[in-house]
């Protein structure tokens, strides 16, 4: 049985591994830190959050200060999917963000049916694809 843990990660309870949900790549032991099986990139904030006002003229520009924050991106080494992003202090250790008790997870799911698509929960009908113009 496999348990869907995040948008891009699942745990195979039988093999006790983290897997990529996009390409099925085995990332690493489920009793460990999945990030250890991923590629990491220290992203320049300016690539994501543009300076809306001219950085040549101004100190604060809407772009985060690279000296003050790092953006760690974690990629699946097989398909290149961006599994996780972490905003952190400059040169801080990446967080061990999901430390799973695998024995408890096995016990919990021994009473459940396997779920292949994530459960979304109650719906609220809002049509994002409206067409009127302002």
């Amino acid at each position: 049985m496999k348990v869907l843990m995040t948008e891009y990660l699942r745990i195979d309870l039988d093999s006790e591994n983290w897997e990529c949900r996009v390409c099925d790549h085995v990332i690493g032991p489920a009793r460990g830190n999945y990030k250890e099986g991923l590629l990491v990139y220290n992203r320049d904030p300016a690539d994501i959050h543009p300076s809306i006002i001219d950085p040549e003229k101004y100190r604060f520009t809407f772009c985060p200060d690279r000296e003050w924050v790092n953006i760690y991106e974690f990629y699946c080494p097989s398909c290149g999917t961006q599994v996780e992003v972490e905003y952190t202090f400059p040169n801080h250790m990446p967080l061990y963000d999901m430390e799973v008790d695998i024995d408890a997870l096995k016990e919990q799911w021994s009473h459940r049916e396997e779920i292949l698509e994530p459960v979304k929960g109650p719906n609220i009908l809002v049509d994002r694809c409206h067409t009127h113009k302002h």
Binding site: Y41, I52, P64, E73, C79, Y96, D97
Partner: protein
């Protein structure tokens, strides 16, 4: 030891306790009350009532009537209240058990207000009921705002009424409003300049201000003299009192139809059943530890890096929020919070975004356990200033929301969508001074309620939807505000382009506000948020946070004259005004968002933007049609859309080239595989064993939560007892810098040091 000796010892003990009670010189904040967020133990009266009333339909019926009463009270306060916070929904009404536990809060409004009022009610129960100089009787009303007795910060004022039936206390009702003005060193109620608790204005421990349902005029006059808005103080005290009286009336209707025991059974059953249901829901989560953090980049006086650190440990039906590693409190900065404020905001995360279907009471958080170190940002001492506690509690909300999303994803039963963190700062103008009618005012724009929503697991976040601390709050009608305040928002509610948090689903965005004073020479503004250098939230599952948000000023211009004489010069966005600098001879500057009260001149511009909620998922998975829609709506420029989302389209027709887009995205995934390095190598080359050398850092580093840094690499402290931290006044820092420069210049010029000339 015989019985006689036993009795004698007991009598001695009682005598000592009575002596100590009778001779207590100061009834200060009570840790026994303040550190306990759980519902009280079942009382004999509740036990008896629950045995007598077991009909769940009757209990549900009473609960619905009480809920309706809370909505009615909410509506009254919103319609009649004078404070901007009251008019736009930063209010709440609630019903509390005889022991003081919040059982039902109004569906709209700021739940954390009500969820903290149980502390002052329990203080009243413990200290004033049997106190011969105070006492608690029907028709009494108690006022309260001091966070050290249970509140977010002292700009929020509560009115608390006991409800009696045939001479016996059966429950309590309360109403709370973000009043704004509270007589602090800066107008508007949230002074970031406060360096001690004595700079924060009115500090009302719970005291009786109403007898026989009438406000005591002598006390009212004292309170009015203590704040900048004396009329508002009176009006809103009356409004809250009348809302409480309406709640009391509705409760008495229940008492007349169902009797006091049924009411007691309903209140107790509701809270106990919520506790049971919460434990069941926690059990459904996977057993694991989730770790997250957020970054504070400012004390609101100066930029600094402060950590809010959280590990959430879930095991069976236990859920533990461990804030170890969080920054120590700053002894002379206002961003600290009392422990209940942090807990209340975590409760707000649960009741707004995780389990909104549960009754909005105190019981939802009751089973959750907390680990904090006293003397930290999230559990500050009673002497620390906390008028800007919003900074600490909003970060507490975000780390809670971020961590819980990781627990929720795998659950077969969900009660809301999994979503990325909401924007968490009150990007708005706080204002004060003398208005165009000659009245002294101090308050804020309700734009603080326009925070961008986090993206959800299947759709984008909503723009400027609501604050993290309230439901169904409004951002206000600017034209209505302008009747009372002497400034205009020349640009308002226009989305700030290119500020979205990217993701498969992007965060809901914020809007631009450009304000300029017009009709007063005694008027000024404050801004009080973090996030000008570092985003204050996280994204989720591969999505990004929103960007950072500066304060922009244009001085040396009267824009109203420009609009009269050269209207074509005026531009309607921050980037046009700042980049094009259209007003000759004006000064254009940027600042962090911790602007202390700043006297404004007619026609000078203050420009800020609300923030974006977090993004969800890998941006390369974003539907290209959604990217185009954002371009069409002016939310993102075509250039940035291509860069962020790797979408190919015709810039004239905006028709997507799907094949080229797929190719571009596939190439970019390959590029990621080249630019990314294996984790172990990344840690070896990028991670350092200490914080940055040249930036003040506060908190634990790399998971060692036993030691915390206190502003420099040389200042490491015991996390269990960090001790006081005094931050130098920014002007003194600047003076020292300038004096050093002056000394160096004198030396270069061959002049003696300045102090040797004396």
């Amino acid at each position: 030891m015989n019985n006689e000796t036993n009795n004698s010892a007991l009598q001695d003990q009682e005598l000592i306790e009575k002596f100590l009670k009778d001779t207590t010189l100061f009834l200060g904040p009570d840790p026994e009350i303040m550190r306990d967020h759980r519902i009280m133990p079942r009382t004999p009266e509740e036990e008896k009532a629950m045995e007598a009333f077991t009909d769940l339909n009757q209990i549900a019926s009473i609960r619905d009537r009480l809920q309706s009463a809370c909505e009615e009270g909410f509506e009254m306060v919103e319609q009649m209240g004078a404070a901007p916070g009251a008019k736009w929904g930063d209010i709440i009404t609630g019903i509390y058990s005889a022991s003081g536990d919040l059982t039902i809060g109004s569906a709209g409004g700021v739940l954390i207000f009500s969820a903290l009022v149980h502390h002052p009610i329990k203080f009243i129960i413990k200290n004033w009921i049997d106190e011969k100089t105070v006492g608690v009787s029907a028709g009494d009303g108690f006022i309260h705002n001091d966070s050290r007795y249970g509140n977010v910060h002292n700009t929020d004022q509560s009115m608390i009424l006991p409800v009696f039936h045939e001479g016996k206390l059966v429950c309590w009702v309360a109403s709370t409003v973000h009043e704004g003005e509270c007589g602090a060193i800066e107008p508007g109620g949230m002074p970031s300049m406060a360096e001690t608790s004595f700079d924060e204005g009115l500090k009302m421990s719970p005291f009786k201000v109403v007898e026989n349902y009438e406000i005591k005029r002598d006390l009212l006059t004292f309170l009015q003299n203590s704040v900048r808005e004396p009329k508002l103080q009176y009006e809103d005290m009356k409004v809250k009192l009348f809302a409480c009286m309406r709640l009391e009336k509705r409760i008495k209707e229940v008492l007349s139809t169902d009797g006091p025991e049924a009411l007691t059974a309903c209140l107790r059953y509701t809270n106990e059943s919520v506790v049971t249901e919460v434990r069941r829901r926690i059990s459904e989560w996977p057993d694991m530890t989730v770790r997250t953090q957020t970054i504070m980049d400012s004390t609101l006086r100066e930029n600094a890096l402060l950590k809010v650190n959280l590990a959430v440990i879930k095991k069976g039906d236990r859920l533990i929020f461990d804030f170890s590693g969080t920054s120590p409190e700053l002894t002379n900065r206002a961003i600290n919070t009392q422990l209940p404020g942090m807990k209340g905001m975590v409760g707000q995360a649960f009741m707004n975004h995780i389990w909104p279907d549960l009754p909005r009471g105190q019981a939802g958080l009751s089973p959750v356990e907390f680990v904090t170190q006293p003397g930290t940002l999230v559990d500050c001492s009673y002497s620390a200033p906390n008028s800007q506690s919003l900074m600490s509690i909003f970060h507490s909300f975000t780390v809670a929301q971020h961590a819980c999303a990781k627990f929720l994803y795998s659950c077969p039963d969900k009660y809301t969508r999994v979503l990325a963190p909401w924007h968490n700062m009150i990007n708005t103008f706080i204002w004060g001074g003398v208005n165009q009618h000659g009245e002294t005012l101090g308050n804020l724009c309700a734009d603080l309620n326009g925070m961008g929503g986090g993206a959800r697991m299947d759709r984008d976040g909503e723009h400027a939807l609501s604050p993290i601390f309230a439901t169904m709050a409004d951002i206000g009608e600017q034209e209505m505000n302008e009747e009372e305040v002497p400034f205009l928002q020349l640009v308002s509610k226009k989305m700030t382009a290119n500020t979205q948090a990217p993701g498969k689903y992007r965060g809901g965005m914020g809007y631009t506000m450009i304000a300029a004073t017009k009709d007063s020479e005694q008027w000024g503004f404050m801004t009080t948020t973090q996030g000008s250098k570092v985003p204050t939230i996280q994204g989720l599952f591969g999505g990004y946070a929103g960007g950072s948000y500066p304060l922009c000023k244009v001085q040396g211009v009267d824009v109203y004259e420009v609009l009269l004489e050269n209207p074509q010069l005026f531009k309607h966005s921050i980037h046009e005004i700042m980049n094009e600098q259209p007003f000759p001879d004006a000064r254009y500057t940027t600042h962090h968002m911790g602007m202390g009260f700043d006297i404004s001149k007619r026609g000078e511009l203050y420009m800020i933007s609300q923030g974006s909620g977090g993004g969800y998922g890998d941006p390369l998975e974003r539907d290209p049609l959604y990217v185009i829609m954002d371009i069409e709506e002016g939310l993102i420029s075509p250039e940035w859309a291509k860069k962020l989302y790797k979408v190919e389209f015709n810039e004239t027709t905006l028709v997507v080239d799907n094949e080229a887009t797929e190719k571009l995205r596939a190439e970019y995934r390959e590029q990621r595989k080249k630019q990314g390095v294996p984790y172990a190598e990344f840690v070896k080359t990028q991670v350092k064993d200490h914080p940055p050398e040249n930036i003040p850092f506060y908190g634990a580093w790399n998971g060692d939560n036993e030691v915390i840094y206190a502003g420099s690499l040389d200042d490491k402290r015991d996390a269990q007892n960090p001790g006081p931290i005094y931050v130098t006044h920014p002007k003194d820092v600047r003076i020292a810098e300038l004096e050093a420069k002056l000394a160096a210049a004198r030396k270069d010029a061959g002049l003696p040091p300045e102090n040797e000339r004396k």
